[in-house]
């Protein structure tokens, strides 16, 4: 039996997706900001 809570997978994907997206976007923004600051 998989448990009391059903229909979990969409929420799991949402959580992982948003976490990954946040980390990625922030990382990229850091690279870009560092490049910009170096050129100044």
């Amino acid at each position: 039996m998989t448990g009391v809570v059903t229909g979990g997978w969409s929420f799991v994907w949402a959580a992982y997706g948003l976490t990954t997206a946040a980390l990625l976007i922030y990382g990229v923004s850091l690279f870009m900001r560092l490049k910009e600051e170096r050129q100044r």
Partner: protein
């Protein structure tokens, strides 16, 4: 141009980020596809493999900010302000992620997006506090004053965190008796630990890069770039 530090190991942050990304892929893959579903939570449990590591690292970030603030007030060395600047931003990011993850977990579990869990509510309060300090920094032009005020505000906010937690916990316990999942049996340790290190490496790398950006900004502030100085010379 004056150097405000944070560049002692030029390659290190990139190494950390790369390492962190690898660990994250490995840990998340394990958590999503290899770890078995939990007894009561079913597959929803898998959210914990990102949520708990984010939480642990958020606490570290807050500790880092607190430490940087105190060290700055004692040393008056602006490189610590650069580190504080970085910690505040990365800490806010982690806090925001925690709130989003927590909401996504709460909806199918409790039927509501926000269940006033003491831990998550404390995170939200501190998120707003940090955002306020970041806003304060934008409005202060003098780097030294900005640094002192940020440090003071950060210390006050950090000291507040345990008090906020206690008061919300108590405020909440009178109405609801649900608990947030925190006990994880040994079968689930691998994805948890791997992702914990993943986010630790990523966070550290991010803070180092962001501190470097802050240091460069400070250098630009204290001594403006040559073009502007030249033009000022022309006008004189």
């Amino acid at each position: 141009m004056q150097d405000f530090g944070n560049n002692r190991f030029p390659r290190l942050p990139y190494v950390l980020i790369g390492l962190g990304a690898l660990c994250y892929l490995f840990g998340s893959f394990w958590g999503l596809f290899i770890a078995p579903p939990e007894r009561f939570m079913g597959d929803l449990q898998r959210i914990m493999y990102v949520h708990v590591p984010t939480a642990w690292n958020w606490m570290l970030a807050v500790l880092f900010c607190f430490a940087a603030a105190i060290v700055f007030l004692f040393t008056n060395d602006l490189k610590w302000d650069a580190r504080l600047d970085a910690g505040l931003e990365v800490g806010s990011l982690l806090a925001f992620m925690l709130c989003v993850q927590g909401s996504i977990w709460a909806k199918p579990t409790w039927g509501v997006w926000w269940d006033w869990d003491p831990r998550l509510t404390s995170v939200a309060v501190l998120l707003f506090a940090f955002l306020g300090i970041i806003a304060l920094r934008r409005f202060v032009d003098d780097p030294r004053k900005r640094a002192i005020w940020s440090s003071v505000a950060t210390i006050i906010a950090s000291v507040d965190l345990p008090i906020v937690y206690m008061s919300v916990k108590w405020w909440n316990s009178l109405h609801q008796t649900q608990s947030s999942p925190d006990t994880v049996s040994s079968a689930f340790h691998i994805p948890l630990r791997v992702n914990a290190f993943a986010i630790l490496f990523l966070m550290t790398g991010f803070i180092m890069l962001r501190a470097r950006i802050a240091s460069l900004r400070l250098a630009n502030e204290v001594a403006p770039p040559p073009m502007i100085a030249e033009r000022a010379g022309e006008m004189a």
